[in-house]
Symmetry: C2
Subunit: 413 residues, 2 copies
Amino acid sequence: MLNERNPIPVQEAIAKVRSCYQTGQTEWVPLTEAASRILAIDITADHHVPPFDRSPYDGYAIRSVDTTGASTDQPQQLEVVGHIGAGSVYTEPLTDQQAVRIMTGAAIPEGADAVVMLEDTTALEIEGKSYVNVMKTIAHQQNVSFKGEDVRQGEVIMKKGTEINPGVIALLATFGYASVPVAKKPVVGVIATGSELLEVSDPLEPGKIRNSNAYMVMAQLERAGAIPHYYGQLADDLESSIEKISAVLEEVDFLITTGGVSVGDFDLLPEIYQALEADVLFNKVAMRPGSVTTVSTTANKLLFGLSGNPSACYVGFELFTRPLIDHYLGKVQIGLYRTEALLDADIPKANPFSRFIRGYYYLQDQTVFVQLAGKDKSNMVHSLANANCLIELPGGTAGFNKGDRVLIHRLGE
Amino acid sequence: MLNERNPIPVQEAIAKVRSCYQTGQTEWVPLTEAASRILAIDITADHHVPPFDRSPYDGYAIRSVDTTGASTDQPQQLEVVGHIGAGSVYTEPLTDQQAVRIMTGAAIPEGADAVVMLEDTTALEIEGKSYVNVMKTIAHQQNVSFKGEDVRQGEVIMKKGTEINPGVIALLATFGYASVPVAKKPVVGVIATGSELLEVSDPLEPGKIRNSNAYMVMAQLERAGAIPHYYGQLADDLESSIEKISAVLEEVDFLITTGGVSVGDFDLLPEIYQALEADVLFNKVAMRPGSVTTVSTTANKLLFGLSGNPSACYVGFELFTRPLIDHYLGKVQIGLYRTEALLDADIPKANPFSRFIRGYYYLQDQTVFVQLAGKDKSNMVHSLANANCLIELPGGTAGFNKGDRVLIHRLGE
C-alpha cells in the first residue's frame, strides 16, 4: 500500500506523462469520413490551382489590344468565333478582332489575354455571323484568374497534424484525395471503481449513487479524438480486479480507471499497481481538485488512475490524459489551448495549492472575460456542464478580484 | 429565366429564410451516443444531488458535541462502533462517545452531525475494542456534503437546446438517463452542378476541375449537426435534372445545390426553379462573395442554390443554411457566434457591398484579434482551410486599418 505520498507540482506531473508519449499509426479513410480527423501526412499540391488560366466572370475572352480606345460611345466590334461553358475548351488560337463567349470558370483560349465582362458588351448579329461590341478598354491580363494563383504545384498546402475542417476537405477533394491519410484514433479503456456505484439504468439505493464518471470520461475521450471502450465496474476483490485490468490492458492503447486511488480502506488500485508491478510516475499532485490522480505504466502502457470525484476526474483527464491523446494523434496543439482572460468575479479563497476552477469564458468588446461556471465545490457535477474552460489559480496566491488577469485552459477546442 | 435580379441586403435575406424555419423531431439515443447532440427536452432533477448527507473525506463520522475542547494535547476518546465504505450504510443511530469510521462518499450515519478527518485522529485498541482519539474540536456540520447541495430535486438542471458536452453527460448519468432525448438530425441532400466538374477520384482533364464544393458543404453540414446525403452531379439536360431534383426532395429535409445559379448560358437552376414552381425567396444578395446565392421553397421544402465558387458556396452555407439547421435542432444559439475583434492587418479595399472575408481570430493578452486567413480572392480555396471566422465588412465603407474594430462570425462553434 502506498500510504506515503509526496505531492509533485502540476507541471512536473505533466512532464512525467510527456516522457511516455507515443505516436499512433496512420489509416486511410474515405473523404466523406475524414472531417474532424487529424491529417497524418503533409499534403503537397500535385498541380496548380487553378490548373489553367480561367475566367472569373461570364463574358468574352479577347485580345486586349483589340479593345484599345473602346468606350460606350466608340465600341470596338469583334467577331464571336466560339462559345464555351465551364469544362469546355476552345482549341483554336484567337486571332485579330476575334472573341470567344466564355462562362465563369472556363479556360481562357490560346491567343486571348483578357476577359471583358458581359455587362460591358452588347451582342449583335450581322449576315448570320455573331459579333460583340466591347464598350470598355480592357487591359492586358484583366479579369483573368491565373494558373497557380491559388496554389502552386509542389507547395505544401496542409501540414501533418492539422484538424480536417470543411475548408481542408475542399482542398483534399481538389487534389484528388478520395481517401485520406489520417491519424488512427487510440482505443482507450475505461473502468469504474467504487462500491457506491450503481449503473445508469439502476434505481437509486440508500448510500449509493449512479456511475457518472465513466460516461463523462468517455465523452471527454471522444471529444479529444479517441475511441472509448467501457469495461464496466471493477469487482470488490483484489484477485479478479487484477485479472480484469491485465486482460483489458491487452486490448487497449491506454487505460483509465475512475475512483479507488485514494488511501481509503476500500481503495484497491494502489494494491493493483503493486501486483501488476506498475511503474508509478506519480500518485499525488499539488493541485485541487485531482490531487490523488495517479499515473503509472505497465506492460509499456499508460494507466491513468483518475479520482472518483467527478470534478477531480474531469480535471485529471484534461490535464494529463488529453495531451497524451493529442500527441498520439500527431496534433500540432498538445493539450488545451491556454490564454489570458479578465476575471469577471471575485474569487476570495486563498490557494495553498494550484487550483483549476470550472469557468465560462466569453468574448465581448474585443476582450476575453471569464466567470465562474457555477458552484465549485469539488463534488459539484452541475458546474461541469456549464464550463467551457478551466481557470488556473497558481498555488501560494491569495484570493483574486474581479478585473484580475488569470490563465484559462479552453475546453473542447 | 431570371435575368433581372434585384440584390437584397444580407439581413433581409437571412430574415426571409428565418420565416421558413421548421423545428425537427425528437429521438432517443443511448447515453454513449449522446455526446455533441442537442438536448430535446428540459432535464429536471428527480432527486437531490448528493442524494444523502455524505462525507467528503476519509475519517470518522462523529457527534460534534463529543469533541468539545479536543486538541492534540487533550484528545477526546471515542469508541469506533462501525466501519463503512462508500456505498455501505451504517444503520444504527450513533450515541454518546461513539464514532464510525467512514470513507469518502459514504452516507453520514444517523446521529452523527460532522466528520473528523483521518489526519486529525489516531486509532487505538483497548481490550479488543477499537477507539479513536480526536485531536481537534469539530464544529456542528463540519466536513459534511449536504443532501441537495449540488442539485435540488425538481430543479431544471439542463435546458432544452443545450449541446451535450461531457459535463452534461455526467449529469444525465447521475439522473439515470441510460437513453437521452435529443434533436433528430435533419437529412440534407447535396447535388453538384457544373459541366467543368470531375469527381474526386478522376484524373484531371483540360478545362476541368475536381468537385470540391459538394464535399466541403457535406463537412459543413456535419459540423452543423446535420446528416449530409450526396446525390452526385446533375446531368446537363433540363428534363432529367428536374426529375432528379424532384425525386431527391422526397427523401430529404432540405436540399443544397452547388453551382448553376448564375445567369450564365449553361446555368440550369433558374429554369429548374421555374419548372418546379418554386417560390424564390431571393436570387441575389448584396454581398461578396455569394451574391448569386438563391433560396427557394418547393413542396414545403427549402432549396439552397449555393454558388459554384468555393468561397461563395462556403459563406452562403454559413450565413443562410446554418441558422436553419440550428433552429431545426432547437439550439439556443442560432447562426454563428458573432463578436467584435481588433483587426491585425490593413484591408485597404473599399466595400461597395457587404463583404465576408475569411479570417483567423486568436486570443492574446485578454484581447480578441483577427487577421486574414490568407489570400482572399473569391476563388481561393486555400484560405478556407485556415479560416476560423468570417470577418464582416459592411457595405458602403472605405478600407479598414490595423487596430480597427470589426465584427467576426466564429466558425464551427
